[in-house]
Symmetry: C2
Subunit: 319 residues, 2 copies
């Protein structure tokens, strides 16, 4: 609730029992919260419990927070009793605008206006979702990646009527809860991570559609090539390291002309002086000005661990 | 050499002393080969030795092959003596077509026609590279990812004059050498992995150019979101798992409409019945028909290890 510190939150309600809603429930339990799941249909409980107990194996392996227990979980199909003690609400119902709008219209009246309601939507704007909500000022988008109990990203943004205070409170809450919240600059379709992912996905679909590569070749190309790097660094830092001592600036000067080549179906932007500067400055700031040796060491250490992990997995497979 | 088994290769020449050529030299040394590097300029030796000894730290950590030693390394700036004992040649000179054509013209006369010459080019076709080579039938593209001593992918394809035998011999050689060769269907600009990577990269540049995200936000979005998954599975298998019991088919039916949304600047192909079938069949084949439980377990086990790795890295950082 907005009148309490994010650190003092104990009761969370997760609305929705699918892979995202259930994944959130498991995650919050692992952090020591009391969690109530709202089920649209009581019959969903079996699948939800299976999902949570499966997630629990991974969460125990990573390490539970003090007080974390599956005993702190309850569920109900009664919306008003599900939110009774809620100090924070994570909504993850299906991605159908009308369903979301109906729910937020109900929640807008039912839930104390000091309780932040965060939506896991992967592409809709809160302006649209809360269009019929009487108390939209405490609603935010908080989009996780699947599975939400293993990937830390939470992309955040408010709707037109969301207060800055509510958005900041929610960001602080996710930090306390061990997540990596990212507050976006604007409401853009697909947010940030999904846009990047969707670009790869569409290129992959084009390649299959044009018989340039098989499904298996596409996946092998990613997993054995750039994939392991992306677990450790984003595309900008990777090129910043790839540029050696010269960093991103060298990389853009060297490979800039490749932007004119048909190396993807996505047409590139003009590499203006401003864009070049934004990329170079952004990389230097992001890496605290660390030099090539430090960055490439960070990359190599991580890649060695991933290589060892894969060696182990393939040995286990052969057994 | 084409008249010997790939298993019996002992002597390799690496042409080029940059991050790719040097990375290959380090990798081959770690696999127990005798390696000679050709340096365009003798002064490059310091930088090359630094690169190799730095790579060696990672390679030792992963595990050297029997007989592997830095003592098996030599270098020279004399092209003909560099290739004297070569049973296989890995070329990694700068990506300038004229330079490559000049080199292949020389190598075409100098090198025994039974020795396969593989180019690390990241986008040029062997048809172009070997245009002035007298013996192009044993030349192939073999494109690694940086750093080549840690990432297993080698994208392969011959030029118009390359024999199927030479391409297959080289593929077998890379398998013996512990790499993951991927023979492409066609000579396409950017090959497979770089096309996919370039799509992400261009979308990222557009987002910065349009002030939709900062450099740091883009990298955080990847590293904390889809990135760790890409270390373990390609984009197709990820959606195949994401679709739950219904797999890729469910995913396409559910999220297919998102292809019409402006979730990236890359326009999507039409999701025809043929494309849907190719994606679904491809996923089922690639995963040997494994069910959702098995696939999601594989994903979770890997993500737990990556999460632990990152936890460890961030603890070390704070020290």
């Amino acid at each position: 609730m907005l009148d309490q510190k994010p650190e003092s939150v104990k009761y969370i309600t997760c609305i929705g029992a699918g892979p995202i809603g259930g994944g959130w429930a498991a995650y919050y339990l692992s952090r020591g919260y009391q969690v109530t799941s709202y089920l649209h249909d009581p019959s969903e409980i079996d699948q939800l419990e299976k999902l949570i107990s499966n997630a629990w194996i991974s969460l125990e392996e990573i390490g539970l927070e003090p007080g974390a227990s599956l005993d702190n979980f309850s569920s109900t199909s009664d919306l008003s009793s599900s939110i009774e003690r809620a100090e924070f609400i994570q909504e993850s119902i299906p991605e159908v605008l009308e369903l979301k709008q109906n729910l937020y219209s109900e929640l807008g009246d039912l839930v104390d206006p000091l309780v932040v309601i965060a939506s896991s939507t992967s592409g809709m704007s809160m302006t649209d979702i809360s269009a019929r909500c009487a108390t939209p000022e405490r609603t935010v988008v908080a989009h996780p990646f699947n599975p939400p109990y293993l990937l830390p990203l939470v992309e955040m943004i408010g709707g037109e009527q969301t207060t800055a205070q509510a958005l900041e409170w929610a960001r602080q809450f996710y930090l306390v809860a061990g997540k990596s919240p990212l507050v976006m600059k604007k409401e853009i379709p697909g947010f940030i991570a999904t846009r990047l992912q969707e670009a790869i996905w569409r290129e992959a679909l084009h390649m299959v559609a044009n018989d340039e590569a098989t499904v298996e070749q596409i996946d092998q190309a990613v997993v054995n090539g750039p994939g392991p790097r992306w677990a450790l660094m984003g595309p900008c830092e990777i090129f910043h390291v790839g540029g050696g001592e010269g960093g991103m600036g060298y990389c853009l000067d060297q490979f800039g002309p490749a932007l004119k080549l048909p190396w993807t179906r996505l047409v590139a932007p003009e590499l203006t002086a401003e864009l070049r500067e934004a990329m170079v400055d952004g990389c230097v700031e992001m890496t605290d000005g660390k030099d090539f040796t430090a960055l490439s060491q960070k990359m190599n250490t991580g890649l060695v661990e991933i290589a060892k992990l894969k060696k182990q997995q393939s040995t286990e497979k052969k057994k």
